[in-house]
């Protein structure tokens, strides 16, 4: 399968443009990232806080500029995309956030928030029937349209966020800790929904999570990050069965100690 997203020698550091050239190596938030994401695959990016996983995703979807190395989407350089065809690029790469309540403008009703990507990227207004269709795809009814974020539950908000992201039919869906702020039962619903949506819309899914078990359920490939670098990557089953790095083994052991088998 052709690689849809490719990162080569990618580096990133926060801070102004003035002094990044002289930055000592331990201040890089991302270092020497070599990554290949195949079209239609599901990739999990795991790591602890400060590992750079969220930063990586933001660079890949063009929200943060690379400061070294390159990122290519569908064969073209990311910088090139953003200069010449930013709207097309953004349409094809969407992002959902960890805390759904804060990813929706508290002063906008759902129908306004839902229409935003289409209005910004396709420059057209959105008829209500279309929005109802989006909501149905994520298991929500039309009564949600007139609500404000504080009137909906965490699970409902995450569904709306997903509907919003998918409203422009992206190729790649980046999900940054999509279930970290919801309960186990809601998490199960959201993960099922993600898997259904991926199948239905032929999505390439990139999911960031600190929870290895969740990633293990959804993603066939996995990348383990630490301190801004990729420690290990490969097929999830392989990495879990035979981790090549002691850090990965540590993470697995810690996750195992608090895991619960779904039972008979």
């Amino acid at each position: 399968m052709t690689a849809l997203v490719e990162a080569r020698g990618l580096r990133f550091a926060y801070g102004g443009r003035t002094n990044w050239r002289r930055r000592p190596t331990d201040e890089w938030a991302l270092r020497d990232i070599e990554l290949s994401i195949a079209r239609g695959s599901a990739l999990g990016i795991v790591g602890e806080s400060g590992s750079g996983k969220s930063t990586l995703v933001r660079v890949l979807c063009g929200l943060l500029p690379a400061r070294g190395g390159s990122v290519a989407f569908d064969g073209r350089d990311l910088g090139d995309w953003l200069r010449t065809a930013p709207r097309t690029f953004r349409r094809q790469n969407q992002l959902v956030f960890q805390n759904p309540a804060s990813s929706l403008d508290p002063r906008m009703r759902m129908r306004q928030s839902l229409a935003e990507p289409t209005r910004a990227l396709e420059r057209r207004p959105v008829p209500i029937e279309e929005m109802v269709g989006w909501l149905a795809a994520v298991g929500l009814g039309s009564e949600v349209l007139s609500r404000y974020p504080h009137q909906l539950s965490g699970g409902q908000l995450q569904r709306v966020a997903l509907a919003r992201a998918l409203s422009v039919r992206p190729e790649v869906l980046y999900a940054d800790e999509p279930t970290s702020s919801v309960d186990v039962s809601v998490q199960a619903q959201i993960l099922n929904l993600l898997m259904d949506l991926r199948a239905r819309f032929d999505l390439t899914l990139v999911m960031v999570s600190h929870n290895l078990v969740v990633v293990g359920r959804v993603c066939e490939h996995i990348v383990v990050m630490r301190d801004g670098q990729i420690v290990e990557q490969g097929a999830t089953v392989d990495v879990f069965d035979e981790p090549r790095s002691t850090y990965t083994a540590e993470l697995i052991a810690a996750a195992e100690s608090v895991a619960v088998r779904p039972g008979t």
């Binding site: 102004g16 979807c61 929200l63 930013p86 709207r87 953004r90 349409r91 969407q94 992002l95 956030f97 960890q98 805390n99 804060s102 990813s103 929706l104 403008d105 508290p106 002063r107 928030s113 935003e116 990507p117 910004a120 990227l121 966020a161 919003r164 422009v168």
Partner: protein
Amino acid sequence: MPRSEPERVSRLRGWSRLPERSRGDCANGRNALWAELRALPLSLTVGGLLVGILVSVALLSLVWTPHDPIAVSVGERLLPPGTDGYLLGTDRLGRDVLSQIMAGARNSLRVGVVSTVAALIPGVAVGLAAAGSGPFWQSALSRITDVGVALPGIVIALVLATVMGPGTTTVIVAIVIGFLPIVARVTIGPAKQILARDYVEAAFAYGRTRPYVLVRHVLPNIGPFIIVQASVMVAVAILIEAALSYLGVGAQIRTSSWGRSLNEAQPLIDVAPLLMVFPGAAIMLAVLGFNLLGDGLRTILDPQQQRVEVPRA
């Protein structure tokens, strides 16, 4: 592994179910309204009341005052309050005090509101733009506002008075110049907070431009903050107007002003002490009203203090 049949324990002493308060208990609408009002913070109701009175008096004075506030009547100088036809008495030129207070309300309100709005619009715009720009512009703005805040407002007003001549317009301009840097600087903080929110990042992710985000996402979300600021600014503007008029660079002879009334009453403090009390009290109540209003608005608009929802367990 329990192989025995489960034992049925006799039902434990049940707790009594709480009586449900049906909606029908609040039988008539008036009770409900009263309950709503009582639930509001005290500062909001008192502040709202005071401001309401001020606005009503000011509006009323546009169409009616007991006497013409600037009509001089030498034969009726310094009448005490309670004299027939002159509820609060007259001043040293025989002008009705009550009418002057009412017309003064109009003046204070006008200066307060106009200068606040005139300072807010560009001030917020500059603050938003700075918040959305890089650190260079933010530092630049900070330096400029530092200078602006350091300049003494009264001095600026006096200088302006020399250039533009005294009068209400001068006062408004002076207040706006004084407010602008403060508004800009004070807007940056909340604006930056909102810019760091996920929904702003999401807006960038689906292709919105920076100006759009600032206007359509940041501005509405700092709205409550601005409203509260505005209320306090009106209070300050009223105070400054009174001070400048007291000094003689504010409202001139044909415009009633509480500050100028204070100035005129000062030499007469032995003869007619109450002449100072009325404008002084008016200033105090107006300023208090707007401050309380701002405080009360801040309380109800603060998202942390929404009506007590049953807490999520």
